[in-house]
Structure formats: C-alpha cells, structure tokens
Symmetry: C2
Subunit: 122 residues, 2 copies
C-alpha cells in the first residue's frame, strides 16, 4: 500500500515496442476478408488491373480502391500507373518480411508456452 491507500503497481510501461506495433499493423492490413482475398487474387494473377479485382469482390470500385490503398500503406502490394489503368502486384519482399515476423512471433509463443509449462507445473 502507498499513502493513497492504493496498491503499489509495478511501474507501467509507457508504450509498445516497435516490433509489437509493426506486427499489429501487418495484422490490421490482413484484418478484412476483402484484403485477404485481394492478396490471394494478386498471387494468382502475378499482375492485375484494379477493375479485375473489383469484378472478383462483392464491393464497389471505390471501396476496393480503399482496400488496395491500405495494403499499399503497409507495403504488401505495389501499384504502378499505366495510362488510365493501375497495375497492382504483390511486393514479394514485403510479404516475406511480414511472414517472417509472424512466424517468429508464433514460434516464440509456442516455445515460451512449453518452457513456462514445465517450469510452473513441473
């Protein structure tokens, strides 16, 4: 107890780590079925016009354009303007980097789970 009658908390952290924030940001980009599907479509087509993607999704063109923008924001795809069209494709390096980050996260969790189980439940 301290002088205010409240329990003494261990000092709280001020913010999240860069790794945690980046991972959350990647997850956010993947947190909508439309964006999950867009990446799948792009992987199958290599490159792809925006209009083709629109036709494969149950969403309006303006909405699809927004989802593409979000995927571009985190770097998972890139869009090159070709005249009136825009040619989208997967950024392979960025996808692999994101996947590594995710794998590292889950692998660490699994390893820690096993370790702490042994320690605590001996």
């Amino acid at each position: 107890m301290n002088d205010k009658g409240t329990s003494v908390a261990k000092s709280k952290i001020e913010e999240f780590s860069q790794e945690e924030s980046r991972l959350a940001d990647i997850a956010k980009a993947l947190s909508h079925p439309a964006r999950i599907k867009i990446l799948k479509i792009l992987s199958e087509m290599d490159v792809c016009m925006c209009g083709e993607i629109v036709d494969l999704l149950p969403l309006a063109q303006a909405t699809v354009s927004q989802h593409l923008k979000e995927l571009k924001r985190v770097g998972l795809i890139q869009g090159d303007i070709e005249g009136p069209k825009t040619c989208y494709c997967i950024n392979t390096n960025s996808i692999n980097e994101a996947y590594s980050q995710i794998q590292n996260y889950f692998d660490t969790i699994n390893k820690e789970c096993k370790r702490s189980c042994k320690t605590n439940k001996k």
Copy 2:
C-alpha cells in the same frame, strides 16, 4: 458492352468464403499492439491474473479487460474465474490452429506467386 453502355462485368461474388473470414478475424484479434503483447505475456507466464497484465501495459484496467475479451472471442485465450480473480491462459490448440491457417495462407501465396511469374513472364 451491354445495352446500358457499361462494360460487362463477370458476375460478382456475393460474399467471402468462410476461410477468408476466419483468417481476417484472427488477424483482427492480432491487430492491436496490446493484444500482441498480452499473448506474449501469457506465453511467458503460463497462467496470469488480469491485474498482472494490467501492470505490464500502458492502459487502464477497463481497457485491458476489453482486449482480453476480444482475444477470448476468437478463442486464442481462455479465462477461468478463481474467486475474485480471473486466471487467463493461452489456448494452445486455438493458437496452433490459427498459426496453421496463417501458414497455409502465406505458403499458398508464395507458391502461387512463383507459378504465375513463370507462366506470365516465361
């Protein structure tokens, strides 16, 4: 062209697949640094009281409780009430299931990318 002067679109899909929705839902649960950190904390502690988690995050107790609820919603953790306390722990099965789903998704994308590159750019 059709009679309305617009280009004939291939029939649009009505909704997203269950797999796409589930994957997006998992990603949504991981789309906040607090929830990324909570899973890491739980993996290190095996089991953990809510209060301990609160002390390790830069957030109020009510907010942390909400994040725990979201993780519970998608099944990644479980919380067992022990008297006035609640004991949280990772749901190992659910985490592994989620990880498999994610791995399958990224592996498919990578495979398709290589295939379509060969096909299109021969």
